[in-house]
């Protein structure tokens, strides 16, 4: 908040932490609960407190305070003056039960830290009864902010990583196959989900015979996914050998494989 804004604002009355009433116009601090006489502020103390209260939870630099409180009013500004005045304000607030309401931020300045701060701009409310306060989110301490920033950073990283994982990991693994030849217009692909197919054991004329036996039409373009346990070894007398053919006629460009017909054959050979 700049000087002009500070000056432009009217004189206000505040309820600080629902405990102290600050009459800026009367330069007084009044306890709302304890029956003690009001603390009267000097003009300088009043200007300093006003600047701090109006910037609750904001850091005010030493330079800003020196200018607003001293220089603008034709007074000599010095660091010692500022330190002494801050110290006096702290003592006043401490006597009213607010020990650490003015925070020094090294090399930055000062900050007024009221958890609840309400302004009263209606004369009718100027009796000395406590005003029900609206809860304001108390600003976290410096350490609290650090914790929040770390939490935010960790959560952001987790969010980005899970999003990347969700977007780029495949929904299902793609089929593993090896093209082993063509029969008429059928592209024969040996399925290798579990085992690599040995080309030496591939019997293309045998596959062509199976295609014919199953009544499949290879005069039109189609893809045949083929599997035979005999492609894994050269022992033709293996017990319970399996052949599998999935005949998938060529579809549209958008969907190159249309609905497939499946043939599964086991031979119980001893």
């Amino acid at each position: 908040m700049g000087v002009n804004q500070f000056i432009a604002q009217g004189i206000m009355r505040y309820i600080i932490n629902n405990n102290i009433k600050y009459h800026e116009d009367r330069s007084e601090l009044i306890s709302l609960y304890d029956d003690i006489p009001p603390i009267v502020l000097t003009a300088t103390l009043n200007r300093l407190l006003s600047a701090l209260v109006r910037n609750n939870n904001l850091v005010l630099s030493r330079e800003t305070l020196l200018m607003q409180v001293w220089e603008v009013h034709g007074q000599v500004a010095s660091g010692n003056n500022l330190n002494n005045t801050i110290s006096m304000l702290r003592k006043m607030f401490a006597s009213l039960g607010e020990e650490e309401i003015i925070v020094t931020l090294p090399r930055q300045g000062f900050m007024f830290c009221a958890k609840q701060l309400n302004t009263i701009d209606d004369e009718s409310s100027l009796d000395d009864k406590p005003v029900p306060a609206i809860a304001v989110q108390p600003p976290p301490s410096k350490r609290g902010w650090l914790k929040r920033k770390i939490l935010l950073a960790v959560l952001s990283v987790v969010a980005v990583l899970t999003l990347a994982w969700a977007m780029f990991s495949p929904e299902h693994a793609s089929i593993t196959y090896k093209s082993i030849g063509v029969v008429d217009k059928c592209d024969i692909r040996a399925i290798g989900t579990y085992h690599l197919v040995k080309q030496a054991y591939v019997n293309l004329p045998g596959i062509a015979a199976d295609i014919k036996r199953f009544g499949l039409d290879c005069s039109l373009p189609a893809t045949i996914y083929y599997y035979s346990s005999s492609t894994l070894h050269n022992n033709r007398d293996i017990y319970n050998s399996v052949s599998f053919v999935a005949y998938c006629p060529a579809g549209l460009k958008k969907n190159p494989v249309s609905e497939c017909e499946n043939f599964y054959e086991t031979k119980d050979v001893h």
Binding site: L155, S156, A159, L163, T193, Y225, A246, V257
Partner: protein, 161 residues
């Protein structure tokens, strides 16, 4: 009397970013959980099986319908021939599954036979999935709308959406 409340902009920003990060994480987790679902699809499968001297020929329309969290129904309709004799198959199986390391561990929870299902023979029923049997399966993508189901012995069928 009017009261003015001072809103801490940094806190609002913190809560906003926190909510966005949590929303993204929840959305991504949901997407990941949905990724390895058993797909909804159907297939036509003809099987020829030799058991001793008996030869079974089975023609089935298989429909897989996911229902609920990690559950699906398998609708089987068709027929099975045992030599000259032919029997109708019409049943629904309720299965649940877990997905681990690329494999689906599928357990048949229920086997509901419809009235027109006429397979009474034990050997015939052995040719079909049965209650409490567990299957280890892989599901791989053939195309944008087709998947291949394979057990640890051989591929079983290619189904399409």
């Amino acid at each position: 009397m009017k009261l003015k409340t001072y809103i801490n902009i940094q806190s609002v920003f913190f809560i906003l970013v926190l909510l966005i990060a949590l929303s993204i994480t929840l959305f991504s987790t949901y997407r990941l959980a949905m990724k390895n679902r058993v797909p909804e699809c159907k297939a036509i499968k003809t099987s020829f099986t030799m058991v001793g001297s008996r030869r079974f020929e089975k023609v089935l329309l298989i429909s897989i319908v996911p229902v609920g969290w990690h559950k699906f129904n398998v609708l089987l309709n068709g027929n099975i021939s045992d030599g000259d004799k032919k029997y109708a198959i019409s049943r629904m199986m309720v299965a649940d599954y877990t997905f681990r390391d690329g494999y689906y561990y599928i357990k048949i929870l229920e086997n509901i036979r419809h009235a027109r299902d006429s397979t009474a023979d034990a050997e015939l029923n052995r040719q079909l999935p049965a209650k409490n049997r567990v299957y280890l399966m892989r599901i791989e993508k053939v195309s944008d709308n087709s998947y291949i189901f394979a057990d640890n012995h051989a591929p079983l069928f290619v189904c399409s959406k």
